[in-house]
């Protein structure tokens, strides 16, 4: 019996010793930045410069903001400006900054049954999908992409919710899972370009619509308000935010490519940012 306890204590002590001492911040972000490989590209550069590691929790924008609100992340890098501004107004976060933008594309069955390929506007494409009642897979998970999609439906003056369970299907899933479903059901879906480019299980799924301003998508970084949670690593998180909008950070974002394509376009407004030290 004693031997068992000794073994046990040994194993637990290994577990405890493994809790390494490195300096890190926790960043809650979205699947689009993480799954595309952008953060994996940026973080080592930042770590080299500052010695600070960044641990990424990749979830939807809604959940990422909630993690910040509860104090479970030090900074939030997400893409839905309205929610982000509300987050700051409510006092959960401070110092929101524009970092970069990327864009969304509409994918669907290669045969394009709703004929969206020849349209000029995203809203028009959505209208055609609803008119032809071709299945559309919605993220349905309160993510930034989901919110964008709802905006596009309202631009198209279509109340898609009303057809939920018919041609409009709410997956309640991440981007990749949603694409997997779209592939399986010969359905349309809205996706960020990065996830689409790195997505492998395409089969008959093809990119059918792109390059329309309403499809552009702004990313912002917000620091979690240290006055609400005293353990928040404000100084380190601030360093990360500063680095992202610095020349070096912005250039690194522009340099990142996936299959030869630039995915994220830096657009930080530095002259404003430098005054945000208070």
């Amino acid at each position: 019996m004693r031997r068992i306890y000794i073994t046990l204590l040994f194993l637990i002590s290994i577990g405890a010793a493994n809790a390494n001492e490195e300096t890190f911040i926790t960043l809650s972000s979205t699947t689009s930045t993480d799954n595309s490989g952008l953060l994996e590209y940026l973080i080592p550069k930042f770590k080299n410069k500052t010695g600070i590691n960044v641990r990424v929790i990749a979830v939807g924008t809604g959940r990422a903001l909630q993690l910040g609100e509860r104090g479970d992340a030090d900074a939030v890098l997400v893409h839905h400006k309205t929610s982000e501004e509300r987050f700051v107004e409510n006092g959960f976060g401070i110092e929101r900054r524009d970092v970069m933008y990327n864009d969304y594309v509409i994918v669907g069955p290669r045969k394009d049954p709703a004929n969206i390929q020849d349209t000029r506007h995203a809203a028009q494409a959505f209208k055609l999908i609803s008119k032809n009642r071709v299945p559309f897979i919605s993220r349905g998970d309160d993510s930034g992409t989901h919110k964008k999609e709802l905006e596009l439906w309202s631009l198209a003056s279509v109340d898609a919710q009303q057809y939920s369970g018919e041609w409009y299907r709410e997956a309640g899933a991440g981007m990749g899972a949603t694409l997997n479903i779209a592939n399986g059901m010969d359905a349309y879906a809205l996706t960020d370009r990065g996830t689409w480019l790195s997505f492998k299980n395409r089969d008959e799924l093809a990119l059918l619509f792109e390059n329309d301003p309403p499809l552009f998508n702004q990313y912002g970084i917000i620091l979690v308000n240290p006055e609400r949670h005293e353990h928040i690593k404000y100084t380190e998180a601030k360093q990360f935010s500063d680095w992202l909008i610095s020349n070096e950070g912005q250039q690194a974002i522009a340099e990142f490519t996936l299959k030869g394509q630039q995915l994220f376009f830096p657009n930080a407004q530095r002259e404003i940012a430098t005054f945000e030290t208070e």
Partner: protein, 238 residues
């Protein structure tokens, strides 16, 4: 059907590639999976074995209710356990000051919650059965319940391993709880199951399936090692 077979053969060759190249990222993930689940099994056994034995041997008011709850908790949904542990460990929760969220420790806690009922319930049944067999003998020797508990746990140790295995199987295969409380952070809290879920989400079915094959192989290896140790001990014992 041919397509499916093709998928599987690709996944198998991918799995072999990963293993033979001793991919460091993969080794890290396997190591963490084993560390988390084995620690969880050990802790759950320390709680579950005596608890199950006590429920079999001690009579007290409300025992039926405790037993019913225990049996029901064998089927606890991992996502719910993950959420509850998350709320407890979140910085806004009661144990937030400990800073355990998104660490392997948080994952161990969630798995202990999941598998302790399994180990305890199966232990209770084993001890109950054994008690019938040994009751007269032990009573004749005038053994107290506490003494009986020790003796019975020791005498049935080989059978009890089955319950411990059931716990280990559930822990190593579980994804819902560790995803929520661990966060699937690369190089920190990513384990086999969350890595599989991630690759599936990315649409890399081949890699996901390859990782799945490796996970099953690991479970098989761990099980056979303990089984053969048990067999050797059993031979020695008799």
């Amino acid at each position: 059907m041919v397509l499916v077979l093709n998928d599987f053969s690709q996944a198998f060759s991918k799995a072999f590639q990963l293993i033979f190249h001793l991919d460091p990222a993969l080794l890290e993930i396997i190591g963490l999976s084993l560390r988390v689940s084995m620690t969880a099994v050990l802790i759950a056994s320390i709680i579950g074995l005596p608890l199950g034995a006590a429920l079999a041997l001690y009579k007290f008011y409300g025992r039926g209710l405790v037993v019913a709850l225990l049996n029901a908790f064998m089927g606890l949904p991992p996502v719910v356990v993950g959420l509850v542990v998350y709320l407890m460990l979140s910085r806004s929760g009661p144990f937030g000051v400990l800073g355990l969220l998104f660490t392997p420790t948080a994952m161990i806690i969630a798995q202990v919650c999941l598998i302790t009922p399994i180990i305890a319930a199966l232990t209770r049944q084993t001890i109950l059965d054994a008690n019938v067999e040994y009751y007269e003998q032990l009573r004749a020797l005038g053994a107290k319940a506490s003494r009986m508990m020790k003796t019975l746990l020791w005498e049935t140790r080989f059978s009890l391993l089955t319950g411990v295995f059931a716990g280990f199987g559930r822990a190593i295969a579980e994804v819902g709880a560790v995803l929520i409380v661990g966060g699937n952070i690369n190089h920190a809290t990513r384990v086999m199951t969350t890595a599989i879920a991630l690759e599936t989400r990315k649409g890399d079915i081949e890699l996901a399936l390859a990782l799945g094959i490796i996970l099953i192989a690991i479970s098989l290896i761990v099980t056979s090692i303990v089984m053969s140790a048990r067999h050797a001990a059993y031979q020695h014992h008799n």
